[in-house]
Amino acid sequence: MSEANTVLRAEGLSAGYGGRLIVEGVSFTLHDGDVLAVVGPNGSGKTTLIRALLGMIEPVAGRVEILGRKGLGSRDVERAVAYIPQRMEIDRTFPISLREMLALSAPGADVERFLDFLELRPLLDSRVGDLSGGQLQRAMMAYAAAKGPRLLVMDEPTSWVDARGADCALCIMEEFKSRGMALLVVTHDFSSLEGIATHVLGISHSLDGGYFFGPVTEEGISGRAASLFGVSHHGGANHVHCAFRINSLKGDGHGNP
């Protein structure tokens, strides 16, 4: 992989709160088309790692580069990175329509992208505060898709949504992967990403060094990591999600064949 394909690089990244280190010395590189599953038990520091990677908290040590830049803040990075938090907490009294929210994504954002697939078109002129939790989660997926990012970061995308929302999240991941975008997905359940993830970053205090990083091979993930995180050894396509994707996402993502 060339430097030009490098989307995210962490070197010796340590982060924590109030002087307490939660993740320590994490290093990995993510390229275009990679799907990294960040797995680990509750409280292991998955979300802390994400926050440090995205510059939301100051790392205690180490460095992070997104698209070769050390610091964030440029419009290039704003367009290139999309983030869907674990649970969306919004001010439901905020006077903003769904169409306006999607347009916030990036200058010239394509608000039409995946609208039909996500069943959001009839809601475009609704106030975002009037959307249900599931609709809001799908709205965030449309928001992320609208900018066409190079890196999509999702924190537990299938944990707090209904079955429809979980399917949508998996289909969006498949679609982004097929378009060569990089994904970083936090999950406590690796099985939901089998067939999609290309790499695994496991965090656990019971591991030497506190973490494990490696590729998902044809045979699945390494036996040691598999036993630590309670996942099967073998990857393989997730046929339910793929079938859903084929039926719903043919064409350009706008619902056009």
Binding site: L54, Y83, P85, I90, P95, M101, L104
Partner: protein, 250 residues
């Protein structure tokens, strides 16, 4: 002048009500009583001193709620009570006149001088340029702060910019309606606009329209019925808010 102030206060109010900063505005205006007392004691120009004071306490409490394990409203509540009580003690102890106190409490639009007008025009221009140039990022930082932060937007920087603009606006509005009503004049027209708006576009139109209506109608009532101008403007804005309550968009 009324047109400039009406537009300025309601546009500021748009930021305040969408960022949940109404109590911060209330804190700033009431705490300015201490700024007024200090200005009288040291013999400083109250207009300029109040701006410096509001900027200083605005940034100070914001730094405290960022660093302390206390919620924003708790920090504001503490400093609200602390600054107002010190102001009353200073005014009583130093024997500052009843008239000065009433002027700070209720304000007087007739005390607005040419430099206040220029300040208001400058602030309105700054608001318009700042808001237009940063509209998308400002809305994102207010509505989706966590997402904005992850995308590399300086959410804290925008918050500090709004605190600065708000501090100067509150300092100016104190002269017009006094510390008791300064924040109400900023918040009420924007709150009325928010309650009737289905989207941002409508909100950005309704907020200044309601602000201007409140100012023009309030000043007219004050003039024809010989009533104090500040309370007349705020009471008009309040009436407008009540009228708009049943108009919530479906």
């Amino acid at each position: 002048m009324g047109v400039v102030l009406g537009a300025l206060f309601s546009l500021m109010g748009a930021f305040v009500v969408t960022r949940g900063m109404a109590f911060f505005g209330d804190f700033l205006s009431h705490s300015a009583l201490l700024g007024g007392a200090l200005a009288l004691i040291i013999g400083a120009d109250p207009s300029i001193f109040l701006i410096i004071y509001c900027l200083a306490v605005g940034f100070a409490v914001s730094a405290i709620w960022q660093r302390m394990p206390l919620s924003r409203d708790t920090v504001l509540g503490v400093f609200y009570g602390g600054t107002v009580s010190i102001a009353v003690l200073l005014m009583t102890g130093r024997g500052l006149g009843q008239q000065s106190l009433m002027q700070f409490l209720l304000g007087d639009i007739l005390l607005i001088g040419p430099h206040d007008v220029w300040l208001a025009v400058g602030l309105l221009a700054t608001f318009t340029v700042f808001g237009t140039m940063n509209r998308r990022r400002l809305v994102k930082a207010s509505f989706l702060p966590e997402v904005a932060e992850a995308e590399g937007i300086n959410v804290r920087g925008y918050e500090l910019a709004i605190i600065a603009l708000m501090s100067i606006t509150i300092a100016l509005s104190i002269k017009v309606v006094g510390v008791l009503l300064a924040n109400a004049m900023v918040v009420i027209p924007a709150a009325a606009a928010k309650s009737v708006s289905r989207n941002l576009r409508a909100f950005i139109v309704f907020a200044p329209v309601f602000g201007l209506l409140s100012f023009i109608a309030g000043l007219s009532i004050s003039f024809y019925f010989n009533l104090p101008s500040g309370p007349a403007i705020v009471a008009t804005a309040f009436a407008l808010f009540i009228v708009t309550l049943p108009l919530r968009p479906k």
